[in-house]
Amino acid sequence: MDDALRALLLAAADDELVIGHRHSEWTGHAPHIEEDVAFSSIAQDEIGHAAALYGLVAEMEGSDPDAIALGRKPEDYRHAILCERPNRDWGYTLARHWLYDTAEDVRLEALSESSHDGLRAVATKLRREERYHLLHADMWIERVARGPVDGRTRLIDSLTHAFPEAIALFEPLESEHEALERGLLPVPSDELRKRYVERAARALDELGLPTEVGAGADAAAEFIASSSGDLIESDDGADPEPAGRAFGGRSGNRSEDFQPLWEEMTATYRENPGASW
């Protein structure tokens, strides 16, 4: 069993599956019919990306991608806690969509240089489709940010909740040291996290949105109080990490929001494991 590769693949695959599932909950409920179709399509894409990544795990282990995706216990999932949060309202969904797809671009850019052939190929392919997701997210954020005050306020509230949790998308992985040594993961998570925070903060600044929602030591105090994840503190203190919360997803710590999602997502599979479709 290649633990380092497995951890790397599952982190990305579980993020895609779980956020894809959350996105799909908008099907039939999105603000207007065209967006309903568009967002459902993005949800399908994310689940498709998860399938491609589970496929790599299955190939490595000689197992079945469906069993990996849907046959695990809740504590065996490795997605970031951000992905399992309920959709709340359209403002939160958009904020998370934008934060997630921006992060995904940073991650896939790095993974498209992986030493693992299969992963490199999948990352390159997924990134092409993610370009469109990013376009969709950018367009929405831009319009809501520059639109009427109600939407803008909701967006800012949502970013304030979601950005500190999005930072945990770049929580170091299990066996990360080995993944780095072998070049499976070409860039350390800490470095990716810095790139991500810089990029996201710059974009928010250009839109005239507050950037302190994502970084800053002042915010950390508030985030530590969160019940739903561990705050990972900087190792040395000299180079403070961006403040974040809801860390722990990469080592299987789940918030209370995951159990109901898991029950629904895996219900059909659990009724008849191994059924073919």
Binding site: E34, A38, S41, L135
Partner: protein, 101 residues
Amino acid sequence: MEVYEVFRRHGHKDPFEHCGAVIAPDPDMALIMAKECFLRRGEGEHLWVARRSDIHSFKDESLLEPTGDKSYRFASGYRDVIHKREKALARVRELSGGGAA
């Protein structure tokens, strides 16, 4: 929000054809919506959107109905024209003096 008409092209040598409409706040958003609604399954390779209000048409559609015999505007109206011409010439000869010319 405005209505945008969507036009789709199947291949690069094909004409753009109307395939539906979306409601969107601006052209960029309309393109995104159109891509998802009308190009989900590889039905084409290019899309246009145009504001419905930018499309002009006749106020009175009855102006477009053909009036009278327009067979001369169709190739079929010229079918067998040689034979018809010969018949016409024969008739001219017959009327102008019973072939004594």
